[in-house]
Homo-oligomer: 175 residues x 2
DNA sequence: ATGACTGTTCAAAAAATATTGAACAGTCGG
DNA sequence: CCGACTGTTCAATATTTTTTGAACAGTCAT
């Protein structure tokens, strides 16, 4: 993710061309590019989702590459991610021969998919580390025994807190 | 942030040297490097915080560069970030002539600092975009009027939801 | 004032990540 | 079966982000 260790005048991404889009669409796409950056996803994914979100009709991969002016590869990968994450699905009224996508707009759906795919795996990885840390903490010189024990206990409490708060958070995001 | 669009065998960061550290410290550092990655911060920041977190005594910038084997520049910038974010503070028992740091360990403190510094600015940026989007939505061809209006309304509801949930979340992280 | 030490800054280098584009596999209609 | 079309994959490339290291500023003891 972009981290602003830098000076104050935090540079804006300096709006790219975004050729085939109406002003409304451009604005929507930029909005979602910003959101994507907040949660650490690539720009192209924000663009794709933003375009689908504002579009009144389902769009094909080809529509997307043309309007957004990105490569077929990017669009394909981006859609794949959005699909497996549940943020996008095949259009309802799908008549034509090629796949058309539309945005899934339930906040809970989006959040759940994102947490499941992006956060959960890393956290469970963290669990392993925590377990190993705990073992190591037991064989520490007496001098540090107390301090280290305290820290490990705290980490465990964090872990527990996270485990209860995350589901609750999803509930809060409501239907 | 690292995004795994890629194949299944999601490569692990392949543990670096981490010379001057005890096994316990190494484990703690790696744990926090992982956490840092989850929230999209550079590795060096995770390393620094992890080392301070597990250390029984406050450490100087020089201690940090030597033990972690990172450059003075990285350490200085990382500490700066951790300071302004409230994750680290000057040691209590500060006798010597150089600054020594220790980790701030309140979960709420950490979360608040992070949200304030990293998330809030981006979200307020998003507010501007949303306002502009709303204006554009009013001048849309009749055909799309309904759809676009619905989407804009939904975005506003998301925004409201976020505004209520974030503070609540901080409360949940407790004391 | 000088030299040793601590810490910051920032341009350049390195590393990590995202995007492209071309090769490929699959499908459909004729 | 062929050729046109849709979509995926992945190595090469481009871009972004992080890290380094050297120059610099400040402090302090002598």
């Amino acid at each position: 993710m972009a981290l602003h260790l830098e000076a104050r005048p935090s540079r804006l991404p300096s709006a790219p061309p975004l050729a085939g889009l109406s002003p409304l669409e451009t604005e929507a796409v930029e909005l979602f590019v910003g959101l994507a950056q907040v949660v650490g996803l690539p720009k192209s994914i924000g663009q794709i989702y933003g375009l689908l979100y504002i579009s009144a009709t389902p769009l094909s991969l080809d529509d997307i590459t043309r309007r957004l002016d990105i490569s077929k590869g990017s669009a394909s990968q981006g859609l794949k991610f959005l699909r497996t994450t549940g943020a996008v699905r095949l259009g309802d009224e799908n008549g034509s021969r090629c796949d058309r996508y539309q945005a899934e707009t339930g906040l809970r759906t989006l959040a759940t998919g994102f947490l499941k795919e992006q956060i959960e795996p890393r956290l469970s990885n963290g669990s392993d580390r925590l377990a190993r840390l705990k073992r190591l903490a037991e064989m520490v010189p007496a001098e540090q025994r107390e301090h280290v024990g305290q820290r490990v206990k705290q980490l465990e409490s964090w872990h527990g807190r996270a485990a209860t708060v995350l589901p609750l958070l999803i509930r809060l995001l409501g239907k």
